[in-house]
């Protein structure tokens, strides 16, 4: 009971009840203390109920009576199932109070646990505050402008919104060029002249957006670079710079190809007029954002440009409206203008046609000339070769037969020599190529091994990454828990409680064992008694019969029969008396228990108090009645 009382007192102290240091058990609680404790608990459990109740009893008896009834009602509202009324507070009994307080304290911790949870760290506090603020803002529903209350003005009025406008910022940190050293001038510029980031955007509202954009771009670029390096870069087994330079050349080549294929249709549209812009947009679409090259626009449209230019030149010069001229004159002028322009236009069209025909003719003749030239060149070279051969033959003609023989022998000899040289070369070549092949085999084997090792390395990297993350998380949790532990209230030792609980449990177990033992003993005894009684009856019945049979004939047997009957009777009475004694002893024990409980509930004291209070209430009533009669 002591532990329970300690727990109750401690909990009540936490709630705010002022409990004296001496009071160590519920028995010593006065009515005022009980009322205060209950009211404070109810205030924590359900603030709306508890705010109406006072923490201290008023002096007047009827007022006290009222307060206690309302308190009892409140307790029942909360969910207390036991019998409760004003008497539980004014004329309390220990077990009643204990059960009520236990119920209330049990209801407490769940509600107050959240409030007493201490935040683990400053940054978490800040984050929680931010989250709470954002949550509150999100909960507020959007209203159309006409319905908005002032509380919405902060988040929903158009003045609070800004366009997502991004401006480039220049930051003085090195990202990729870790190996390169910054020039001294650059460093000076960064130190002295470059304005801070908050001053760089032209509009203050775009500061946040610009920073976000730049940071996200850098982060995603570095993340992508990291991922790409881990996946493809390591596989290619090149150094980072080599890999990057190779990628650059590859991309450049691709750009060239795209430009070439896109530039060609624009060539055909040279006479098609203003189609250059649509081609450009197609090029851009096809390549997804490459820088537009100006030469596509100007290619093939020199002609159209000059056309436009001449038009713009002639137009301003010919239209000079004068306010002094009459309307018809103006119209006449305009018609003349129109006619002249049309003539001009027709001239230009015929010029264009002429030029087109000329160009066509030129291309065709050009092709013909080139073709002729090529053919002539080839014929020339062939003829030169033939000439060489014929020259040599002519020199040899005079002595043709001999020379023929000589030539043949020469040819055979050189053929043999060539073959000889070839075999010599072969002797040199074969070992070299075999060596080459052998080394290649070794190389490829090593490649396999190195790729295996590479894959092992990447898996190890992954494991390292995962383990570092886990370690970080666990360290954070550890920190949090340590601070939590430090912040927990130290006066109540949890371990003492758990130990006591375990002791009590073991005690109860032992008692249970003992009880079962006693019960089994009792059962055994009862069984014995039953069997003995049965035996007795049977024995008596047999003896009775036996003796009775002989009792008819013999006198002594009849006497012994009478003695037997009397013996049986007396013993039976004896047994009955013993049983009766036992029952009476049990009743005595029960009554003694009841006397104890009744004594504990201090009914006498309570009765006296009730009588006194009854007298006080009667007096108050008569006083109030007198007041009413007077006034």
């Amino acid at each position: 009971m002591e532990e329970v009382d300690n727990i109750l007192i401690h909990a009540l102290k936490e709630v705010g009840t002022e409990v004296n240091e001496d009071t160590s058990s519920v028995k010593q609680f006065s009515s005022e203390l009980i009322v205060e404790a209950v009211v404070r608990c109810i205030r924590v459990i359900e603030p709306c109920l508890g705010s109406a109740l006072p923490t201290s009893l008023p002096p007047g008896m009827s007022a006290r009576f009222r307060v206690c009834t309302s308190l009892a009602q409140a307790c029942q509202d909360i969910g207390y199932k036991g019998e409760i009324g004003y008497q539980s507070f004014l004329y309390s009994t220990e077990p009643e109070i204990r059960s009520l307080l236990m119920f209330l304290v049990e209801k407490l911790p769940r509600e107050s646990a959240e409030a007493s949870d201490q935040p683990p760290g400053k940054s978490v506090v800040l984050q929680r505050a931010i989250a709470a603020a954002i949550k509150a803002q999100l909960v507020v529903p959007w209203l159309p402008p006409s319905c908005r209350l002032p509380l919405h003005s902060e988040t929903q009025s158009p003045g609070a919104l800004h366009r997502f406008h991004v401006q480039p910022l220049s930051l003085p940190h090195c990202t990729e060029e870790a190996g390169k050293k910054q020039l001294k001038e650059v460093k000076d510029y960064h130190r002295d002249i470059l304005p801070p980031v908050t001053a760089q955007p032209s509009h203050h509202a775009s500061l946040v957006t610009s920073i976000l954009e730049q940071h996200t771009a850098e982060l995603s670029a570095s993340q992508e670079g990291y991922n790409e390096w881990n996946s493809q870069g390591l596989l290619s087994r090149l150094k980072p710079q080599e890999y990057r330079s190779r990628k650059l050349t590859r991309l450049r080549k691709r750009i060239e190809e795209q430009m070439r294929s896109a530039a060609l249709p624009s060539l055909e549209s040279a006479f098609g007029g203003p189609r250059a812009t649509s081609d450009l947009s197609e090029v851009l679409q096809a390549f997804r954002g490459s820088a537009p090259s100006d030469h596509i626009l100007t290619k093939g449209s020199n002609f159209t440009h000059t056309q436009k230019f001449t038009f713009t030149q002639t137009l301003p010069s010919s239209s000079i409206p004068s306010s002094h001229q009459s309307e018809s004159d103006i119209q006449h002028c305009q018609q003349e203008e129109q006619v002249s322009l049309q003539l001009h236009f027709q001239h230009l069209c015929s010029d264009v046609d002429q030029l087109a025909a000329d160009m066509k003719h030129m291309t065709v003749t050009n092709a013909q000339v080139l073709d002729e030239f090529k053919q002539r060149e080839l014929k020339n070279s062939e003829k030169e070769d033939k000439l060489q051969v014929k020259k040599k033959t002519i020199n040899l003609l005079p002595d043709s037969d001999n020379n023929l023989l000589k030539l043949q022998t020469l040819v055979e000899a050189s053929a043999k020599r060539v073959v000889n040289l070839a075999s010599q070369w072969e002797k040199r070549r074969t070992p070299l190529i075999n060596e080459h092949r052998r080394l290649k085999e070794i190389c490829s084997k090593q490649d396999l091994e190195s790729s295996k090792k590479l894959s092992e390395i990447t898996s190890l990297h992954d494991k390292i990454r995962v383990s570092t993350e886990e370690a970080k998380k666990k360290e954070e949790i550890h920190k949090q828990l340590v601070t939590e532990l430090e912040n927990l209230p130290q006066d109540v030792s949890r371990s003492a409680y758990t130990q006591r609980i375990l002791e009590i449990v073991s005690n109860i177990k032992k008692q249970k064992e003992e009880i079962t033992k006693i019960l089994s003993d009792t059962k055994e005894l009862q069984k014995e008694i039953n069997s003995l009684t049965g035996k007795l009856d049977r024995t008596f019945a047999v003896t009775d019969e036996l003796v009775f049979k002989d009792a008819k004939k013999d006198e002594s047997v009849r006497k012994s029969y009478k003695y037997l009957a009397a013996l049986h009777e007396n013993c039976y009475q004896l047994i009955q008396t013993i049983e009766y004694t036992g029952t009476i002893l049990r009743e005595i024990r029960d009554l003694e228990e009841q006397i104890e409980t009744e004594n504990g509930s201090k009914t006498v004291a309570n009765l006296e108090r009730i009588l006194n209070d009854y007298k006080a209430i009667r007096q108050e009533n008569s006083a109030l009645a007198a007041k009413v009669r007077e006034g």
Binding site: S261, T365, Q368, D371, A415, V418, E426, R429, K440, E441
Partner: protein, 351 residues
């Protein structure tokens, strides 16, 4: 004859693929320039991870014809660590059959002896004497392989049966020395088809316009662009996007001929073309006529047109045609256009 013909042979080379998967140019006689060597390595099917295996491939680069025969080495053999090899013969003339036969002999020698020396002996014998002993019965004689046979080896009838009346587009393009690009994923089909096309302009007998096996690499395309008109075969389907390379595009597997925008005007066709087209189709459909007869008939018609053109040229001064001169004859516009461009192709146009 043998002497001049042997002058056409330029070199012989050897490419090997070994068990490491490397394809190496291991040997050549007398010498092969590094550009040509690069091209030959790319043409040889051994460099392509053993996907397709082509026994015999030929093509042209920088006015040099190359003929590549590839053989898979079967165990047991004198060659160790070699899985496949190719023999490359380069020459100045177009004669696939001759060089295929020669290459076969050289291949067999190489496999048997395991050393290129014997192979070179045979090659030098052919070079000096025009004859060489082969393992099969008989010997290899250069003079057995006449160039005319090579020209006529393809089948015009197949071409006409595949494209029908559209063959006239090919005829016109060839007559006007335009650029024809043919695509087919299989190189053998490509070679077979493209070698026939120059025979439509039999009067020129010019097979140097034929580039039957081209890849989309800078070196080869530059070489291709040096020719004003050509017939080029590509295995790469990407070539259909390269409209700067062709005036007529032939998609062989789908049997579709497209004329590019820039050439549509020059290739406009009229009644004259229709007549010629009909002639070609009829001639080819006749089952009794052989391929050479069909070609002969086409060439007869061509000669007729050229004779007309020459007559027109003689009418003008310095026997060169001008557009005004043509206009005076009031031909229908398509015919006039065709004659104008044909005159340019035959070098009859006044500059």
């Amino acid at each position: 004859m043998a002497a001049t013909e042997t002058q056409f042979m330029l070199s012989v080379g050897l490419i090997e693929k070994d068990v490491n998967g490397d394809t190496l140019w291991v040997w050549c006689y007398p010498s092969v320039g590094s550009d040509l060597r690069q091209v030959l390595l790319s043409k040889c099917c051994l460099t392509r991870d053993g996907r397709d295996f082509h026994t015999f491939v030929f093509g042209q680069f920088c006015r040099t014809w190359y003929y590549i025969t590839t053989v898979e080495v079967q165990e047991p053999t004198a060659l160790n660590k070699v899985t496949h090899f190719s023999i490359v013969v380069t020459a100045k003339d177009f004669n696939p059959e001759k060089y295929a036969a020669l290459s076969r002999i050289l291949c067999r020698m190489y496999i048997k002896h395991g050393s290129p020396v014997k192979m070179m002996e045979a090659y030098v014998t052919v070079l000096t004497k025009g004859i060489c002993q082969s393992d099969e019965n008989g010997s290899f004689l250069i003079k057995d392989y006449d160039v005319r046979k090579a020209y006529l080896a393809g089948s015009v009838k197949d071409v006409v049966s595949q494209f029908g009346m559209e063959t006239i587009i090919l005829y016109t393009a060839l007559m006007l020395k335009k650029r024809i690009v043919v695509h087919h994923p299989r190189i053998e089909a490509l070679l077979e088809f493209t070698r026939v096309l120059p025979s439509l302009t039999w009067h020129r007998k010019d097979w140097s316009i034929l580039h039957p096996y081209v890849h989309l690499t800078d070196a080869e395309l530059e070489d291709l662009k040096k020719c004003p008109g050509y017939v080029a075969g590509f295995v790469d389907p990407e070539v259909s996007n390269r409209s700067d390379l062709f005036d007529v595009y032939v998609n062989l597997p789908d049997s579709v001929i497209t004329v590019s925008q820039s050439a549509k005007e020059a290739m406009a066709m009229g009644k004259l073309h229709k007549d010629i087209g009909h002639l070609i189709v009829q001639s080819a459909e006749d089952a009794e006529r052989s391929d050479s007869q069909v070609i002969k008939e086409i060439s007869v018609k061509t000669k007729e047109i050229l004779a007309n053109l020459a007559a027109l040229a003689d009418e003008c001064e310095d026997s060169k045609i001008t557009l005004e001169g043509l206009k005076q004859h009031h031909f229908p516009p398509a015919t006039e256009n065709f004659l104008f461009h044909l005159a340019a192709a035959e070098q009859l146009l006044r500059i």
